[in-house]
């Protein structure tokens, strides 16, 4: 009833090719974007921005990047942390070596550096698949962990190996307030998510999905595996690289290689598994889930414990947090292996029939 496309006729090619062909979809997405831009700044506190909103928005972009590679093209990658690191250090080096560049231009350019490296590390994917490819991308992770720790040129010879982002400014405006940072990160993410959505539904995205579903069959019908796989690596690394640069410049301000270690790669992988493989919306849901849940548990457990007269120490909270988080991941994988995005599409199916299900 609410979600019914009957009566919505597509009378031109333009209508047929719209990103969101159904009115309800378009309305929901526009409302969500409008809320993110207008409603959130009206209510969010400093803490909400810095601890929840900015990390979620940036990691959602990284998750979209990984989803392009893993969810759409079916190439397993454990190197997303490394590509974030490349983005961050490329942006840093651009900013200090070409100091006339605006920091946000550096962020965008750093995506290309990550894309180039992504293509290089994607070459093994032409020969190997599955677990073996995971190992090859793991090599990228370890190699860049090592490079940013050891090659002092990347960190501009700072004694401790920790580097700082330049102050965030654009058009003479100071963009260092939490609201401004959030809006900047949101703009990058929304723009690139839109671009990614367009890519995956176009002919490139169809090639990726064909390769994912059966690479030999795809090759037989005329898809070039080399182009499809390497373009997926390039686009994915670009998005992850930009997210890494934003993480460094907008979120942290100062970072060390440990920020982008293997744990970050796993975190991104959890995001897309929980959110939904092969879904842009799923990347957002997964990022929100992974960022918010630990913080929520951490804050909600002591008051809940106090209700039943149980004083929970900070150590216990963090142990419980690990257990609950692990259990929830297992639960999701069993109950809904297609992730949160699948829940949303089930909800849409139900709304289509509501209130007269048959």
């Amino acid at each position: 009833m609410i979600y019914r496309e009957a009566g919505q006729y597509k009378t031109s090619y333009v209508d047929d090719q719209a990103i969101f062909p159904i009115l309800q979809d378009k309305a929901v997405v526009l409302a969500a974007v409008a809320a993110a831009y207008l409603l959130v700044p009206a209510f969010a506190s400093d803490y909400m921005y810095k601890a929840i909103l900015i990390p979620t928005v940036i990691l959602a972009l990284a998750a979209i990047g990984l989803n392009v590679l893993m969810g759409y093209c079916g190439q397993v990658s454990l190197g997303s942390g490394a590509f974030m690191a490349i983005g961050a250090y490329a942006a840093y080096n651009l900013a200090i070596r070409l100091d006339f560049l605006n920091p946000f231009v550096c962020v965008l350019l750093s995506g290309f550096a990550a894309a180039a490296v992504g293509v290089a590390f994607g070459i093994p994917s032409l020969r190997i698949k599955g677990f073996y490819l995971a190992c090859a991308t793991l090599a990228a992770q370890f190699f860049f962990d090592w490079a940013f720790l050891r090659v002092k040129w990347f960190t501009n010879y700072t004694p401790s190996g920790s580097v700082n982002a330049p102050p965030l400014q654009a058009f003479g405006l100071d963009l260092s307030s939490p609201t401004a940072k959030y809006l900047v990160a949101l703009t990058f993410t929304v723009a690139l998510a839109l671009a990614a959505k367009n890519l995956v539904r176009g002919h490139i995205g169809r090639q990726w999905m064909a390769i994912r579903d059966m690479d030999i069959a795809a090759e037989i019908i005329g898809i070039r595996p080399m182009f499809a796989k390497l373009s997926a690596f390039a686009v994915s690394s670009f998005l992850i690289g930009v997210a890494g640069a934003l993480w460094a410049f907008v979120h942290l301000g100062s970072w060390e290689p440990l920020t982008f270690n293997i744990d970050r790669s796993f975190q991104l992988m959890f995001m897309i598994i929980i959110g939904g493989l092969g879904s842009i919306l799923g990347s957002f849901l997964g990022a929100a889930f992974v960022v918010v849940l630990p913080i929520f548990l951490n804050q909600a457990l002591p008051p809940l414990g106090a209700l039943v007269g149980w004083t929970i120490s900070t150590a216990t909270v963090s142990h419980i947090e690990f257990m609950v988080f692990g259990a929830l991941i297992v639960f999701f994988l069993i109950v809904e292996p297609h992730g949160l995005a699948r829940l949303w599409s089930i909800a849409k199916e139900k709304l289509r029939l509501w209130p007269f299900p048959h």
Partner: protein
């Protein structure tokens, strides 16, 4: 995205539920602690010491000049992103916000150094953090009180020179540094490099990856290279692993010198007999009980309010927690003398820290006689004191084995100035003029 907002709303709800109704005459102190993870053995006693001192001030004196202290712990797990989240969560609590923050992690310190000036909250990084942050003209909000890593490395080299019978004897010798591969462990490298050029010894840095419980190859390298001394810059499980491995390859433990973060009971007790003879720098203080412990015992422990195990009280890291809390409390007291006996903002506490002057009499009155040397912080010198000693583990207890050393400012000051200037240029900060600032 919608789910995210829903969850965010839930968090906001939970947070408001968790926040107690704050009375007006309170001073809030956030405690960034870690009681879990690979660094917990060292994080726990420190956190207990800090909490116990603040409790004692409340119980014994009713707060600072009538202003009660409130505090809340947040678990960082030594992870930078969690530390930042904790800081954001706690910085606004209490009627005037956080008085000061002690992250107890070099990585978190680096991240908060970027945030503190905007939030106007001082960072007390006692014995850790950025070495160049001693320069208060550039690092207005950082206070690496009692010593930086460069001071530590300098003092360690002074002691080695003394054991060898003079600085000229260092020529041609080999000194290794086994370090935690993070900003923390890398801090002393710049200074040791400079000193090796000056004194002509060979410097051999050997990194250990986080968390440091796997060090076989590093110690084989040491057996191969046979350095004359090994400096240890570790934390958490890495320390005890290093001491054990040194025993396994039979490297003489009395030729090992740990930094003050590698010289506590959790670092040597797990190594058992292999730990005997191992030396470490002291952040002025060592283990043992002093006058202040009597009050801690009377007002906190006997009332069952301490989280510390009884045998842990008087251990090195517990004492360090006490000292860290004491310095913060004294900074608040100093600031109260200027701004009045009321809850103070972070900005006012910063003034108190910058004008902190602990004389020998004051230290005695506080119950820290024999633990600390006089300390005077100024705008140009946020370190306050550069004194250190060494102690040695005899298998059962730490014994002080050296006299006081002073960090050599002929080497340290120019390096601090140069690195701080570089930071200022990168961040486009104009340094304050310390001659004008009160």
């Amino acid at each position: 995205m919608r789910l995210g907002m829903l969850a965010a709303a839930m968090v906001a709800g939970a947070a408001s539920l968790a926040a107690p109704a704050s009375a007006q005459n309170e001073q809030f102190v956030p405690l960034l602690v870690y009681r879990t993870g690979a660094y917990a053995p060292n994080g726990i006693p420190f956190a207990n010491g800090m909490g116990d001192y603040l409790r004692m001030i409340n119980e014994r004196d009713g707060g600072i000049n009538g202003v009660k202290l409130t505090f809340e712990e947040c678990e960082t797990g030594y992870a930078t992103d969690r530390g930042v989240e904790c800081y954001e969560r706690l910085k606004g609590k209490g009627p005037t916000g956080a008085s000061f923050v002690s992250p107890l992690s070099t990585g978190i310190t680096f991240a908060l150094t970027e945030k503190a000036p905007g939030d106007k909250i001082p960072l007390i990084t006692m014995g850790y953090g950025r070495s160049e942050s001693r320069d208060g003209a550039v690092f207005q909000w950082n206070f690496p009180l009692l010593g930086t890593y460069w001071t530590a490395a300098n003092v360690a080299m002074q002691h080695i020179a003394k054991e060898m019978g003079g600085a000229d004897k260092l020529k041609g010798k080999k000194i290794a540094l086994v370090y935690h591969d993070s900003p923390y462990g890398k801090e002393p490298i710049a200074l040791l490099d400079a000193m090796s050029k000056r004194l002509g010894f060979e410097f051999l840095p050997i990194p250990v990856p986080h968390p440091g419980n796997e060090q076989k190859s590093q110690w084989l390298q040491i057996r191969q290279q046979r350095p004359d001394y090994v400096l240890l810059w570790g934390w958490g499980v890495m320390n005890s692993t290093s001491v054990t491995e040194a025993g396994n390859v039979n490297y003489p433990r009395d030729k090992m010198i740990g930094v003050w973060w590698s010289g506590a009971e959790p670092d040597v007790i797990p190594a058992g007999e292999k730990g005997a003879g191992y030396k470490a720098l002291m952040l002025q203080h060592g283990s043992g009980k002093y006058a202040v412990h009597v009050d801690i015992e009377k007002f906190v422990v006997s009332k069952g309010q301490s989280q510390a195990k009884p045998e842990e009280i008087g251990h090195v890291l517990y004492n360090r927690g006490l000292i860290n809390a004491m310095l913060g409390v004294e900074a608040i007291r100093t600031a109260q003398a200027k701004f009045g006996n009321k809850p103070l903002t972070g900005e006012q506490v910063r003034w108190g820290l910058e004008n902190l002057n602990l004389t020998a009499e004051r230290i005695k009155a506080l119950g820290f006689e024999g633990v600390l040397q006089p300390l005077k912080v100024t705008c140009a010198d946020h370190e306050g004191a550069r004194a250190s000693r060494l102690h040695q583990w005899d298998g059962k207890a730490w014994k002080v084995i050296s006299d006081w050393y002073q960090g050599d400012d002929q080497i340290l000051a120019p390096m601090v100035k140069e690195t701080a200037a570089k930071y200022a240029a990168e961040k486009k900060i104009t340094p304050r003029d310390c001659s004008k600032d009160g």
